[in-house]
Amino acid sequence: MSDLTLSPRQSRKRPGDQLLTFGLPLVLALIVIVFGVISPAFVSAENIASTVRSSSIAGLMFLGLTWVFAVGEIDVSFVAVAALANMIIAGLISGGTSWELACLVGFLAGSFIGVVNGVLVAYLRLPSLVTTIAVGGIATALAASIGEGYSISIPEAKHLAFITETRFGPIPLLAPICALAFLIAWYVQEKLTLGHYIYAIAENREAVVEAGVPVRRIIFLLFVLAAVCASFAGLLLTLELTSGQPSIAASFFLDGLTAVLLGGTMLKLGKPNVLGTLVSVLVLSALVRGGALLGWQDSVFQIIKGALLVAGVTVIIWSNVERD
């Protein structure tokens, strides 16, 4: 149906491979240098800290999503999951629940959406796109119903606020947390059999099933993991913004798809991978911060991100067609 990659046609090494692998980090360096020269405020400690913090939240949100795409499925419900976790936490706190309990309940409720997605897609084998559109629709509706369509303001979390507010110079505390998560994910993806299975399933699901690998369970777990990541990011957004907003994560939708697919252009021969996702998140964040300093409108970012998404997909498809 809607494959992310095409079947290989011819095998041929191309001279541009190196450029493809290091293209994204080069783009990141270029963006940082250009914006740094144009607007010195871009490289101030304050701006770097805030860019890195927003990238960390976005990175954690898209970590699980990366493997859902890598395995050949698609999940568009992650923004709804983040919004649901956010609204449940805010709703509980405004009702008098403690921060810790509210965060736990919100986090679990968001993760549960992943269980629903996983059951429907992995076990009932419904098409993942339409299923996650619908499940996301339900999650969004639930999120909106908590505040009856409005956002909820909550008092700051005194003893939990350090998670998003602490920073060492230009490095917020979230950065090492995010880096650690990506390091573990990279290890799982490269060194453990689970990582190999993910890419093998994308290549030939039937063959992997025949080999006795629990394909359904893996796909189920990947959808749960995607929701766990999105839910955790929703929790962090609640801490950072101290409010519950039904459309809190809407702007992350395009970023998530762009980050995962643009990241696929790096390192793993045109396949979505965690390191690529991390670098693309940094590219997008730097671009948005730099552009905002120059006074660009949101609509400009929409156009740029859309164009980047098309560019990323084109590179993935072309590299796969030419290479294998």
Binding site: R125, A134, G137, G306
Partner: protein, 334 residues
């Protein structure tokens, strides 16, 4: 259509009629004004925007592709219409421009999916995002309502033909045209052939890329046409006009596909009608919008679950564990 094909069709029409009657009876009991002539006309009018989008989307779904640019393209078309009305003060020119802009966006998606062989989902998300951003170009995000009276765009919404509201007449016209193309011509056969198996379609002499492109162009153009009705009904063009169009139109198409066994024009119209019946009923009962969104989403899941052949086999396997075990061992072992 052969007799064998007609019999299940009859059963499906009966099933549809039963559902319609059931919904009507339930809402009539809860809200006595539900089946008044005025409300029935308003249900029909309410379904026109989603109905026309669903008809366009049907072509893409028949091709076994997805178009997720609907929301962005719809907003862009609405803003194009508003801008052209404000600048040219000519209804005909503005409407043509609006539909042409939708077709143009569809053509770009179609070319990328058909010719460049890019994956449809991601490509159309990107195109939708770009189109949404382009909607801001005309006015920086401000809405348009200039010349709405003088050009007569509001009359599209308010006038009637033989006591039927004009939007309904337009939708029926579009539906008849789409029906003739998709179900009564060899071109329609080719659409289904490309959707089922592009390779065998190509070997049978169907220009696959052309049909992929055409499907997206038709979908885009009809999104433009639906925005003409939407802008006329709202009385202004906003940058977020298209935001609430994606979910209902997909639900309409999949509901229709679930009812009729495969995506068809008649099915999509029926789906849009059922959705309008429900949404109108909830509206009368003053159910908040977010609950109706949840219900629409739930219906979508049900529809794809019924539409999916895997569900049926899975269910029958679960119910008769012994019968299906040997075939599914490999998959269930882990």
């Amino acid at each position: 259509m052969t007799i064998e094909a007609l019999r299940p069709l009859l059963a499906r029409v009966v099933a549809l009629a039963v559902i319609v009657v059931a919904i009507a009876v339930i809402f009539q009991i809860l809200a006595p004004a539900y089946l008044s002539e005025r409300n029935i006309l308003s249900i029909l009018k309410q379904m026109t925007v989603n109905g026309i989008v669903a008809i366009g989307l049907t072509f893409v779904i028949v091709l076994n592709r997805f178009d997720l640019s609907l929301a962005g393209v719809a907003s862009f078309c609405a803003m194009t219409l508003g801008f052209l009305l404000a600048v040219t003060n000519s209804l005909l020119l503005s409407v043509i421009g609006c539909i042409a802009m939708g077709a143009f966006c569809g053509a770009i998606s179609g070319m990328m999916v058909g010719r460049l062989r890019l994956p449809d989902v991601v490509t159309t998300i990107a195109i939708g995002s770009i189109a949404y951003g382009m909607g801001f170009v005309y006015s920086g995000g401000k809405h348009f309502s200039q010349n709405f009276f003088s050009t007569g765009i509001l009359d599209i919404n308010d006038s009637k033909l033989l006591s039927i509201p004009m939007p309904v007449v337009i939708m029926l016209g579009v539906a008849v045209l789409a029906y003739l193309i998709l179900h009564q011509s060899r071109y329609g056969q080719s659409f289904y052939a490309v959707g089922e198996n592009p390779t065998s379609a190509r070997l049978s002499g169907v220009p696959v890329r052309l049909y992929l492109g055409l499907g997206f162009v038709i979908c885009g153009a009809l999104v433009g046409a639906s925005m003409m009705l939407n802008v006329a009904a709202v009385g202004a063009a906003y940058v977020n006009t298209g935001n609430r169009i994606l979910l209902p139109s997909y639900t309409a198409v999949y509901l229709g596909a679930a009812l009729f066994g495969t995506p068809t024009i008649l099915g999509s119209l029926a789906g849009a009608f059922l959705m309008a019946m429900l949404l109108n009923g909830f509206n009368i009962l003053s159910v908040p919008f977010y609950y109706s969104d949840a219900i629409v989403s739930f219906i979508l899941i049900l529809a794809i679950a019924i539409f999916s052949p895997q569900t049926l086999t899975w269910l029958s396997r679960s119910l008769r564990l012994t019968g299906g075990r040997s075939r599914s061992t490999a998959e269930t072992r882990g």
